[in-house]
């Protein structure tokens, strides 16, 4: 049976969010259960094995790639998008559902651009009038922030956008 840690390790490669970020959502255990229920342990194990090197499975394996899409979609939106083939549980195939209101709130798509799922967080009166950091510009990065970044994060900085580091430090 695929463990939560294995599931998270797989999800890091698929989502581009690191293990700490994924654990912080509080959804890792729930999402593992959802995927096990919807796709079965055999498929999920295959996906975990194929994802050892990080990233999505071989483009030649379309069913596995479809599962990779579903897992990534789940993390980004809190919604199980459904699978084109029937699940082993007998649930009708292709029926999408929102896992929970909490899952909606934790969708990574909002975090990807520094926002929150609509309705979930009180951002304060007038917050919408304050400019967000410009993600194309490196001049917004405060050097006092970057000095706090340890070697692991600095490595991540080569693959993600500079402003993500700023928000990671702020957290």
């Amino acid at each position: 049976m695929v463990t939560v840690d294995q599931f998270v390790a797989l999800s890091v490669g698929l989502t581009g969010f690191d293990a700490d970020e994924l654990h912080q959502t509080g959804m890792a255990g729930t999402y593992r259960s959802v995927v096990l229920t919807q796709a079965g342990d055999e498929q999920l194990s295959r996906l975990v094995r194929s994802g050892v090197g990080g990233g999505p499975p071989d483009p030649g394996d379309e069913p596995l790639r479809e599962l990779a899409r579903s897992v990534t979609h789940l993390w980004y939106t809190g919604t199980w998008p459904g699978l084109p083939t029937p699940a082993p549980t007998g649930k009708p195939a292709g029926e999408p559902f929102v896992v929970s209101s909490r899952a909606y709130a934790e969708g990574l798509v909002w975090r990807a651009f520094g926002a929150h799922a609509p309705g979930t967080v009180a951002q304060g009166y007038g917050s919408w009038a304050v400019a967000p950091p410009d993600r194309h510009s490196t001049t917004d990065i405060d050097t006092t922030d970057t000095t706090d970044i340890d070697a692991t994060d600095a490595e991540a900085a080569t693959t993600t956008d500079a402003t993500d580091i700023k928000s990671a430090v702020a957290r």
Binding site: G16, H73, Y125, D161
Partner: protein, 631 residues
């Protein structure tokens, strides 16, 4: 007031939404005994209902206007998800409304306590003085009243529902007249980052909407809001303003369909201030207005029901209620349906006709830099210069809303962009994953924006609501049958709006992603002059019991009183002779308050010299009101 204690009511109000709740409050305040009948469900208590609704919305797969609220099988609501488009450009409708086309009536409404006023966006621009004589431009009808008649009631409505706006900006940029020294109850809601970026690029520039037309100068203008901002100490001659409920706007970005901080006005706030002489029954579907041989309304017949978890309503009971005066406030389409079922008010043959809405052209794209999409109210500013002027003779006028919530209205929430990148992103077109997916979404979603062009639709008797005994709902009541189309005038307006959009994108240097292709997502798809367009709709149904100057060609008089029945009123947007370009709820509220004064006067005439009941009803009030009716 307990329903059992009353054998005969002074007033029955049908519908506990925007207009009905206001009328009940005014009349209750004056001591009249008012029974309000609401067809849909009510929440057991306001705060619990609110929490349930927020939770339901977050967990809903399709986050549409009605999704937080409990809808009813016994009193069905049309939902935007009832419609879908086909690849050949036609549409399908499988909901409550029977849609005969040729184009779809694309708005929903909500039958529940509070009505569509629960889900509304909370924008409250006034109509422009010119809108009251729109018929002079050769399209649609003139109003029997002018801006000046409504102006005092606009002020009252702005107090009642709590409006935040800058009076000087409204005067200069929109051209609205205000009483000297008038201030809105609250300071203007701050402009979004997107508004600021727009103003930087657009203010002072000009665009043309057709060859030969005078150019329109652009000015990004704040929109009045019915949501709690900072009170203006200068309001009411220095008396200031205190909100009647809810917290300060917290920028949670779900005004439609539900404001978690209750900063947005809903009719439930007015209901909380109803006097003890007002009684509400929910799950009470009015089936007809009862009329006496002399044309007087004597009351209504209604059916109560229960709906547990089962799919069918049960415990159906038929009741009658008697009253001196009946007010229909059930929504433009429901009011028309009730009048038609009752064989009432139709000597002009105009009941159900002149159905209008705000068809909305959406255009969408990406700004050059991050503008913080999906924050704050759905729209905080607009471009007002296309609402009036001589161009109105050639094409429908429109108001331009600047949309803060990305591409949600056009293409759905960002989940759709995630799915698309997973499916077809990446160098091989077979899906984007990992850090590259995160980077791409992070770059794009926060730059999403949309323009929302709300088109005036003129009164056309062929656009209409009818009933047909072959189409009944679960209770055996007729479902509204809709005939609806966009005129050449509206289509020319939409085409003009698109050319304006093209110029705005060029001035902004923004990436235009607008595409209209027939298919499931665009039931309102059509071609005009060889170009494809598609519209959504703003939920602003109007005109079905149209107001006019004579009984020959209108259903209600300037007081929203049916010409054919002196003690039957039909209130709400259904009375509007023109829907103009402004979001209509504020005007509906002003009209309802104006009618309330008239109803009070009617009741006094009928019941004089009975003494008034209730603490707030004093001789002074009576004198003032009578005086104002005989200036």
């Amino acid at each position: 007031m307990s329903v059992r204690d009353v054998r005969r009511w002074d007033v029955i109000v049908v519908g506990a939404g925007f207009a009905g709740s206001l009328v009940a409050r005014r009349l209750g305040q004056q001591g009249w005994r008012v029974l309000v009948l609401e067809a849909g469900h009510g929440a057991p208590d306001v705060d619990r209902g609110q929490l349930d609704a927020v939770e339901a919305h977050h967990a809903a797969l399709a986050k549409v206007p009605n999704s937080p609220y409990r809808t009813s099988i016994a009193a069905p609501s049309p939902d935007v998800t009832d419609l879908s488009g086909s690849a050949d450009g036609t549409f399908n409708a499988d909901g409550y409304l029977v849609q005969r086309g040729p184009l779809p009536y694309a708005s929903g409404y909500l039958r529940a306590n509070g009505g569509t006023g629960l889900t509304w966006t909370g924008l409250t621009p006034r109509m422009h003085p010119e809108d009251f004589s729109a018929g002079d431009f050769g399209h649609g009808r003139n109003w029997p009243i002018g801006y000046g008649d409504l102006e005092p009631y606009y002020e009252q409505a702005e107090r009642e529902i709590g409006v935040a706006a800058d009076v000087d900006e409204q005067r200069e940029a929109v051209g609205l007249p205000f009483r000297d020294g008038y201030r809105f109850p609250m300071h203007a809601i701050p402009r979004s980052t997107l508004d600021q970026a727009m103003a930087e690029a657009l203010d002072g520039r000009t665009v043309r909407d057709s060859a030969g037309a005078a150019p329109t100068r652009l000015r990004v203008t704040g929109t009045p809001h019915a949501r709690n901002g900072l009170p203006n100490p200068a309001y009411d001659g220095g008396a200031g303003y205190r909100s009647s409920g809810g917290g300060l706007c917290e920028g949670r970005a779900t005004c439609v369909p539900i404001c978690p901080s209750q900063a947005k006005y809903t009719p439930l706030r007015t209901q909380a201030r109803w006097s003890s002489s007002v009684a509400l029954i929910t799950r009470a579907v009015v089936t007809r207005v009862r009329l006496a041989a002399n044309g007087q309304a004597t009351g209504v017949e209604y059916r109560t029901y229960d709906e547990g978890t089962s799919a069918t309503p049960h415990d159906l009971t038929t009741h009658t209620a008697d009253a001196d005066l009946v007010v229909l406030a059930a929504h433009a389409i429901e009011n028309a349906k009730l009048l038609l079922v009752s064989g009432a008010a139709n000597s002009s043959d105009q009941v159900g006709r002149n159905l209008m809405d705000h068809p909305v052209l959406l255009t969408w794209g990406l700004m050059l830099r991050q503008i913080g999409a999906y924050r704050g109210p759905g729209s905080t500013s607009g471009l007002e210069g296309f609402r009036f002027g001589p161009a109105r003779a050639r094409r429908a006028p429109f108001r331009v809303e600047i949309g803060n919530w990305g591409w949600t209205w056009a293409l759905g929430p960002p989940e759709g962009r995630v799915a698309e990148l997973l499916r077809s992103g990446g160098p091989d077109g077979r899906g984007l994953f990992g850090p590259e997916l995160r980077r791409t979404l992070g770059d794009r979603i926060g730059r999403e924006f949309a323009f929302q062009f709300e088109m005036e639709q003129e009164a056309d008797p062929a656009n209409r609501v009818t009933i047909d005994p072959r189409h009944l709902d679960a209770l055996g009541n007729p479902r509204p049958v809709i005939h609806y189309d966009l005129s050449e005038y509206v289509k020319r307006g939409i085409a003009a709006a698109k050319t304006v959009s093209d110029q705005l994108f060029a001035l902004l240097g923004a990436e235009d992603h607008t595409r209209f292709e027939p298919g499931p997502a665009w039931p309102g798809w059509f071609e005009h002059d060889g170009h494809p367009y598609a519209y959504r709709a703003a939920g602003h149904g109007a005109g079905t019991h149209i107001m006019g100057g004579t009984p020959a060609d209108s259903v209600v008089d300037q007081w929203q009183r049916c010409w054919d029945h002196p003690n039957l009123y039909a209130v709400g947007c259904g009375s509007m002779p023109g829907v103009a370009t402004s979001n209509p709820s504020l005007t509906m509220a002003a009209l309802a308050l104006r009618s309330s004064d008239r109803i009070h006067h009617d009741l006094l005439a009928h019941r004089r010299p009975v003494q008034l009941r209730g603490a707030t009803a004093t001789t002074t009030t009576t004198t003032t009101l009578q005086g104002s009716d005989h200036p």
